[in-house]
Symmetry: C2
Subunit: 306 residues, 2 copies
């Protein structure tokens, strides 16, 4: 792994993202009225008894990492805003206002930037988001497009990652895997589905699948202080995908949630009526923390045995 | 000027920032409860009669553009957050919650990122800002640090760029010019001064000076549909700076505001008592729009003659 040439400090590559984030978010100044800070899909701001809470999210897409230089800029703009909208959905909320930061090389064709904004606008119109400001800068490197998004959720419908309990059934919406074939640029954030879910059922924990089930499910389970077990044979696969791809490809932007097992039958029947074209699949359940050997892990290989 | 190799579209360099921003912000979906969208220091969200309005701001610093690779990362972190805080000050508001997006090369030393965060934390503590979340990503180019910041302001104390009237006196706080000698990394956003100002006097228009008086004053005047006249001999200069530097260097992060001329004497006396160590200087006044030949211009050369 590369080490810094300047001194003996380890590099970001040495540490990896999760260790870095854990170190950086330790002891952050919280400020007033913060109900949930770093670590969930969104930050939650408000007072405990407010009828509504505010949701805050920031998310970036970078050329060469999240999209390629020759990809359709309109779809890139769509993706950039929809990634953040998906995080609002994961809390059970409604998106409200977005701020756009665009950094691009001086030689970028104006038409490409206009196409990016056409994609942003299209997503904003579809999900009723106001684009209320932003910032443009020259980039000496690749194109960066950062979205800051606010939203809100009724106090009683706000779903965190941390509320799951042993025995809860685990569900995912849609199909998993193969997002790089194109879906990562065209996905539909599950706002409508999440809003229906939080108003008709009471998911105890929820998140959106951005890094793949193999990385994200352990995060939800850890936040809920649970273990988990999944049935690989049940995974809803996108056409041509293996279960391993469904676990690891990432960028599915589907919902993953935990629900009391007693509600499972009613949920499945009501879902089929309301969203007949979108699969909802029970993939496993949360189990007691003590029932697994590795309480928190990232990779597919470390999943608890059933 | 460079043109795209891919097609005949002009590039961002051909267009320049102001033309680009004007094109991108045309027809943006506004969303609900937007009192002020793109174009002022912050967006303003709320209903007309709410006692408080929310302020939203996003701002980025990029290695090689806003700071150099060998600059003290702690000071860079300070600057990144304080730039956004300065925009909240420019509305008369109080900063509240920040989200941080960091994109950095994999070979970045962990210590450098920790130092950036130490600077962010220091600014957050000083100005009572909660850092409530963020996003980290690998950058295939330079280091990017984006800040999304919320804040609030009492409805009656919110100051836009657009309220100035012909005859208003124009003031700047502090001294101008020479920021690149170091001040751009250590400046103090004028929260305390702006809060005092909006609660004791009624500035009609206000903004912070980020691009230099020569670029920023025409923006305030245009938003207020006024012309302006300044007295160069009055400009408060940082040590060793010429008036031209004071007009053009940028990154002063001082307040520029317009106030009814009848309040000038009272303001100056009260200011001297309250902030004895920080100069407040009347640099000119707003004049009728019709009194100037070029209603809106960017460069120093285009200033209206007195």
């Amino acid at each position: 792994m590369p080490r810094s040439r300047h001194n003996s400090s380890p590099t970001l590559a040495d540490w990896g993202e999760d260790r870095l984030v854990a170190a950086l978010t330790r002891d952050l100044p919280h400020g007033a009225e913060v109900l949930v800070g770093a670590g969930d899909d969104c930050a939650v701001i408000g007072r405990k008894r407010d009828a509504r809470w505010q949701l805050l999210k920031t998310d970036v897409v970078i050329e060469g990492i999240h999209f390629l230089p020759d990809e359709d800029a309109r779809r890139v703009g769509w993706k950039a805003l929809c990634r953040a909208i998906s995080d609002i959905a994961a809390m059970g909320g409604i998106p409200a206002h977005a701020l756009i930061t665009l950094a691009a090389p001086a030689a970028t064709p104006v038409d490409r930037v206009k196409a990016l904004y056409a994609g942003l606008r299209k997503a904003a119109r579809k999900y009723d988001v106001g684009i209320v400001g932003g910032e443009t800068s020259r980039s000496p490197g690749p194109l960066f497009l950062n979205i800051a998004l606010t939203g809100w959720v009724e106090r009683q419908q706000c779903v965190l990652r941390s509320g799951g309990r042993p025995g809860d059934s685990l569900y995912v919406t849609g199909r998993l895997g193969g997002s790089l074939a194109g879906k990562h640029l065209d996905f539909q954030p599950r706002i409508e589905e999440a809003r229906w879910l939080v108003s008709h059922f009471k998911p105890r924990a929820m998140m959106d699948l951005s890094d793949g089930l193999a990385a994200d499910l352990p995060r939800l389970a850890a936040a809920s202080q649970c273990g988990y077990t999944i049935d690989e044979a049940c995974l809803p696969l996108n056409t041509g995908c293996t279960p391993t791809q469904a676990m690891s490809d990432g960028e599915d932007f589907e919902l993953l949630f935990a629900l009391p097992a007693r509600s499972a039958t009613a949920l499945e029947a009501a879902w089929k009526k309301r969203f007949p074209r979108l699969p909802l699949t029970q993939i496993g359940r949360l189990i007691p923390h003590s029932a697994i050997r590795t309480p928190y892990s990232h990779g597919y290989d470390h999943f608890a045995e059933r």
